[in-house]
């Protein structure tokens, strides 16, 4: 992965350089008009957040089962990125809603459950920072709980009556919008891979530093 990293960075930057041109050329949505263009960053950020929550939960489960510190490092890195991409989704959504719905925020099932998911991963990081020794196992359980919560957030718009569109939007996307959208989604996933690799490296180097400090004390 370390050898592929520079190539991954270059491809990601190139994709994000091309993305605005594709977004501008994509057709306008008939009722919302220009503001619908937020969709091309808003939905991919949630796709990445859900992916990251699954990565974090999976790594947490692996750590609980095997006790491997490498899995714990992946879980920490993924939890931080879940929060980063969730922040993008939670901030771009209200900007879109203000124009489309006439309100910044609505306490409906979709928006509230998404906020709760974000708060679960915020609590994971707080637990890691202030939980002290042994917080790795407890936080792994929190990560697992967060990952299990993802399907509820995803299907909440179908299960309950909400202002948010259902999951039917992506399968029925116009051909003109489909290309730019999936291009942006792929760019976001590549960006996630780049950031996750860098963040895991930081965690690995911290572990090495801790080992060095122990060697100095000995």
């Amino acid at each position: 992965m370390q050898r592929l990293f520079p190539a991954l960075v270059v491809v990601t930057i190139a994709m994000f350089a091309v993305a605005p041109a594709l977004i501008v050329q994509a057709p306008y949505e008939s009722t919302m008009g220009l503001v619908q263009k937020i969709f091309y960053f808003h939905v991919p950020s949630w796709i990445v957040m859900f992916t990251s929550a699954f990565v974090c939960g999976g790594a947490g489960l692996r750590y609980l089962l095997t006790g491997r510190s490498a899995a714990d490092r992946v879980a920490v890195a993924a939890a931080e990125l879940t929060l980063v991409f969730g922040t993008i989704g939670l901030m771009t959504g209200p900007l879109w809603a203000n124009k489309a719905w006439g309100v910044w925020w609505q306490w409906d099932a979709k928006l509230t459950s998404a906020l709760v998911l974000w708060l679960i991963f915020a609590s994971y990081l707080l637990l890691r920072r202030y939980g002290g020794a042994g917080s790795e196992k407890l936080s792994a359980v929190v990560a697992l709980f967060g990952a299990v919560n993802v399907p509820f957030v995803y299907w909440s718009a179908n299960l309950w009556r909400t202002m948010h569109p259902t999951t039917n939007v992506l399968p029925t996307l116009q051909p003109g919008m489909r290309g730019p959208f999936w291009f942006c989604a792929l760019a976001f996933l590549l960006l996630y891979a780049v950031l996750l690799t860098a963040r895991i490296r930081l965690e690995t180097r911290r572990t090495e530093l801790d080992a060095l400090y122990l060697a100095v004390e000995d």
Binding site: M32, V35, V84, W96, A198, L209
Partner: protein, 118 residues
Amino acid sequence: MEREKGPAVQLLLLAVLMSASLLAQRPSTEPPIVPARNMPPLSQVPPAGTQPQQLEGFVRADQLPQREQLPAAPLVMTAYAVAWAVVLAYVWSIWRRLNRVEREIADVSRRLSPGARS
């Protein structure tokens, strides 16, 4: 009997004073006359009893008059700026933390090297 007159007169006076003050505060039943501006000429005023034209159905958001629409461009630009600001701030944060850890590793490694111990 003379004793009972005093309070009765006082009550009567109080009632008169309260009535007078209430009358003084009561707003006029006539609406204030305000000079009309941009008023249509009498020939264009619909006759009494006729209703203004009612809307049938909804008006599409993109067909609303300009003053009733929120400008979308600032919202779209803010959304993209926010997304980029969050990503760049995070990249900078990783870079700063990684640099600090690398410096510490170099420092501790120097202390651990055989030359430094002797």
